[in-house]
Structure formats: C-alpha cells, structure tokens
Subunit: 388 residues, 2 copies
Amino acid sequence: LSIVTERVEQPASVPTSGTVPGFYAIVPAGGAGTRLWPLSRAGHPKFLLDLSGSGRTLLQETWDRLQPLTGPAGITLVTGVAHAPAVAGQLDGLPEGNLFPEPAPRDSTAAICLAAAVIVRRDPDAVVGSFASDHVIRVPDAFHAAIREAVAVAREGYVVTIGIAADHPSTAFGYIRMGRALDVAGAPSARTVEAFVEKPDVMTASSYLAEGNYRWNAGMFIARADVLLAQLAATKPALHDGLQAIAAAWDTPRRQDVLAEVWPGLEKIAIDYAVAEPAAAAGRVAVVPGDFGWDDVGDFAALHGLVGDAGGETAEKSVRILGDADVIVQDSTGLVVPRSGRVVAVLGLDDVVVVDTPDALLITTRERAQDVKAVVEQLKSQGKHHIL
Amino acid sequence: LSIVTERVEQPASVPTSGTVPGFYAIVPAGGAGTRLWPLSRAGHPKFLLDLSGSGRTLLQETWDRLQPLTGPAGITLVTGVAHAPAVAGQLDGLPEGNLFPEPAPRDSTAAICLAAAVIVRRDPDAVVGSFASDHVIRVPDAFHAAIREAVAVAREGYVVTIGIAADHPSTAFGYIRMGRALDVAGAPSARTVEAFVEKPDVMTASSYLAEGNYRWNAGMFIARADVLLAQLAATKPALHDGLQAIAAAWDTPRRQDVLAEVWPGLEKIAIDYAVAEPAAAAGRVAVVPGDFGWDDVGDFAALHGLVGDAGGETAEKSVRILGDADVIVQDSTGLVVPRSGRVVAVLGLDDVVVVDTPDALLITTRERAQDVKAVVEQLKSQGKHHIL
C-alpha cells in the first residue's frame, strides 16, 4: 500500500474549474448513525446507505462530489478495518493506497492528521480538506466554489472552515461566529472566525440566526497539511509525535509494526478540540460561507426533508416514500422507508415514520426522530447486538 | 361421508351438566375478516387464527367450548372446500362425516339449514344450534348455562336466540328487543323477542342501552331442526326444497351429483332474514340473555381489548403485544402483533396498531380500525390478490 499522490508545483492561484493542484481530500468514514436505525447498523453504517434514492450511497456521492476538485488519486478514505472492504467495493477508481484502514477508532484527529502526515511527506505544500462521508450536498457546484475559496485562504496559512447557511435555529449543530472580511485573492467571501460555539439551546440558536453572523459548523476543515500538524504539535504534542512516527513508517515494511505499537495509545479527540478551537483562539481560523443545500441527515425527520413527495396517485397520498416496495397510504402523512419487499399499509396517522427492514421494524414520528438513539440504547442494554 | 349422530330418546328436561342429548351444534366456518388484515387472509381466515394468545385458534376454541354440550359427534362444521383440509387439521376428533365442504359460498341459510336437514333425517327430534367459528367467549360456563336454557325453550317449538349483554352502545351489531318473560321449565331467564333491529347509529344505540331491554344479536340461533326447516319452507320454499333434495341424497352415492346440480342455484341469504325475522314477526322467537364475555373480534380495536396489558418491564410500556417476538416500546400505547419474527420498535405513538406479518405490514390506530377494510379494498383494486 502506498498513497498515490503526484507532486506538482503549487500554482499562484486556485483555478476556477478543473482539479485543484496540490489539494487533497481526507474522508473519515466512520460512525454508525444510531438515529437512523434500523436503516443504519453497526455493520452497515450510514455512509454505506443510499438515503436520497439516487442509486448512489452517501459515500459514493461524497466521492463523486470531491473528484472534480481532486481526481481519484487525491482522495484518502480513513475507515475501520471492518468497513474497508465495503468502502473499497463502493468506490471504483479508489487507488488501493488511498484507503487507510484504522486498527481501532481513535476519533477524528488521529484519522485526519495521520492522513495529513502521510500526504505532507509526498507533497510538502499540500493543502488538505476533511469531509464527512455521510452528508448530503444538493448543489455540488456551489460546494466546489466554496472549497476553491477555502483552498486559496488555506494557502495563506489559515485553518479554514466552511460556514453553512443556517435555515432554521437547529440545536443539533455547533455554530461558527464570523468576524471581519479577509482580503485573500480568489476568496472574496472569506472572513475570520471569532469563535466556535457549542450546540445552543433553541432560544440561543434563534438569536444567532437573528444576528446574521453565525453559521453552522459542518466539520469541514481545509488547511495546509504542515499548518494542521504544527497546530496539533502545539496543542497535543504526544498525539502529533505518534502520528508522525506512523507516517514515517507508512511506506516502509515497518508500517504494521509501528501502527500496532503506537495506534492503540493515541489520544481520542475530535479535531474541533485538538486543532480548530485552539487555532481559532489564536486568530488563525478563517471561514468561507457556504450555501449548497447541505444536510447531515442526522435523523428520520431530516431524511423526510430529503425525500420528495411521492404524491400523485391519489389526492390523500402525502406520505414520502424512500424505496420501491408497495406502499398503501390512506389519510396519513410522514415517511415510509420500505426496505423488506413487503407490502406496507399506513392508515390514519400523521407525521409517522415507518422504517421496514428485513429483520427490524421501527415506527415513530418525525417529532421523536432524535430519540431513536434511545431505542438503540435499549436494544443494546438488552444484549440484542445482532440487530444493531 | 356420513354424519355421525346417535338417535336418543329426548329427555323431558335439559340436564344441568354433561352433554345435552339430542342437541347438535352447526358451525359455519367462513368469511375472511378483512378488518383483521394482514392477520387474516382470504386463504387463512380469521377462524384459523389464535387471536387470544391461548395457543388455540378461534375455531379450536369454538370446538372446545361446544364439546361439553354435544360431544365430538354432535358438532357439524360447514366450510368452503378450500378451507376443509385446514379445518379438519385443526380439530382432532372431528368425525369425517361432520365436515360439510361447501362447493361455493351460499350464505348462512344454505349452510345451516342443509346441516339441519341432514341431521333431522337421523334424529327427527334434533335441536340444532348455530354458532360462529370466529368469536371469543371468555366465560364458557355461563355460555353453557345459556345454551342449556335455550335448548329447553327450543324444545317448546321456539326459534331461540342468545341476547348478548351490551357493555357499550356498539353500532357494529344488530340488536334484539326483548319482550315478556316466558314460562319454560329449565329456562328461567327466557323471554320473547319483540323484534330484531338493524345496526343503529350511536344515539339510537345509547337509547337502547338506557332502556335496558335491548341485547346484541350475536347470530346464535337454537331451534328444533324441524321448526327451523318449517319456517324456511314458509319463507323461502325454493331454497328449502333445494336443501331437502340435497339432504335426501346426502348419504347416497348421488350426493355429489345432486350437490353439483342444486347448490349453485340456491338463494344466498342470511339466516337472520330467511328464518329469524319472519319467525319473530310471527311471535315464535325467544331469547335467552347471555353475559359470558362474548366478543366477535371484529377489528383491531376489539383485538386490543382482548389482549392483556404486557406491562411490567418498564413503567412506560403500555402497549399490548400479541406474539412473542422482540418488541421495544417507548412512550407509546396501542397494540403490536409481531408475527414475522422481526424486532419491532415503537417510539412515541398513542393508540397505534402495528400488525407485522412476513409479507405485509399494517400500521394504523385503534380509532381507524374499522377502516382497515378500505385498505384491503384498495389492494384488491390494485390487483394485489397475492397479499389478500
């Protein structure tokens, strides 16, 4: 295994179309997404699902979306060893060496910064960007434009995040408080980040929307790899040194030995805490506002929003259906996900959520969508791991 | 095939325990029960289901309940040819000749009066009683006592019905208006029937309950076979003569020929209209009040009432469960019928009805239970007969 990268001379500016030389995408593919049980499972997590009915999984859509910026050689997937075969199977054209199987989950800092440390040894001027594998972006062109701006800002030494336009006072996301405009060529909308703020209550979130200078933090970070690693060295030197030791052995016969020795002892910490917030406190984080139909599909209420109204056949049919099994609906609204091949009949229920899989059935409401994780917890506490 | 009956001398009175000599039960086993879809199907109707969780089907419970009155030789089952093997398979001890397969459905008069016409040729003093195969009776002893009274009254020449104590103003049943007390030995509670009244609206039903002399008509009729047939001859002579022609050929090699010739032309009519109402108008119908926990299990709301509260495990678990698959319930009430072996999780729904079978899933509410037949109609109109 070796990472396929091509050393290129860094251009003075980011091209407005085509791939961005020297830009590499890092995609951690992990997390079960328990709020989407029983669609997502520990062994078949959210990123492996087609949640939009497009015929492509969230992982494949992520791959499709990044390729115009990086080409296939510029995307690194970091995933658990258990999921590595499924990930490789879904991504035609992924170079073998661009798939990093993690021996065990060590949170996002280890995943992203190991990839960055390996990449920077091949391309000292590399700009890396981290992107979730299980989010939806409805307007890829607008996404690409935002990332091009972000790369331009990253080349100035900033850690850059994307500030997602908030369309409702969500309490499920952290927020970014934007500061003054930055003057960077090729990044007209870039601004400084004053602070990252934790998930607010709904009153606070509403005030954020009213103030206008707050954006959702979608966990996208773009930075020069050396800047990212220098920030990590300053904040978490042990973690940094461990990752550098693994990266140094990566393209040698010692990789597995060093991985086995070092990886289990690495600190588990999200990159928000290890890199982004310390860098923001030091005034070294910028934000590029993005408005490209982003959704993290965090629960079935969000999924309901993604699925178009099936409508048409009868006037009263106002349930959204994700799947192609027979669904009979009378006097009902909500979401039905028929994935078992069985006939599903729904009569007289408002805002119901029905998720029908071959071995498990969930019935809830949009309002209670966030609480599906409590059902998963109950199943776990009962030892029903086969169904999780 | 021959009906197994034993000619016995009619006793002067009906014994208060043990079988009732000269009394024969006729059990029409038909009707799909579309309001219980997808539990009941055209090919697997309601009477073949265990709806109480007792381990016995409704048909078996009917058999178990009648045997103390008749013994196995005194029960005749009338069912469609398609269901005859299933019926025979469920009833250990049913004499082969006591199973009447109908070539095609011809409603209850043909089914019951053919059996009566065959029985009366063996036992001219026979008293027959017709009992549905798919109702529930919670207190068999009280049922037995009521039937013993009814047989005593029937021997006096009355057509006798059982008047079910109404515990709510149901609009799903016809009612019996009771008249004066009858003076029949062994039947202290028997009264005349002034009239049968059609299913009322809820206001009328409430007034019936307030008046106190109205009872539900559960379609149980007990009469001397010759009285039944004489009433039929008066009301529907062609139907009577057709049935007598078949009965005359029943124990001969010509049975199938006569059946094939006569049966298809028989009038389809419910016994209520062909016998009970004309007899009532002539003052020849009596009623024995019965209060024995009767339920026709007409829909899932009724089934909910039958199933005990699963309760116990957690305080919020207040969904009734009919089945033994894993069911996870949080903040919900209603009924879950898990019959597919899958895990069923219900979160945040009130009075929901979930019926989970291997090839079809129904989700509705107790309030809409009567409208399940509309779902079946929709499936039928879509040509989805495989699921009906």
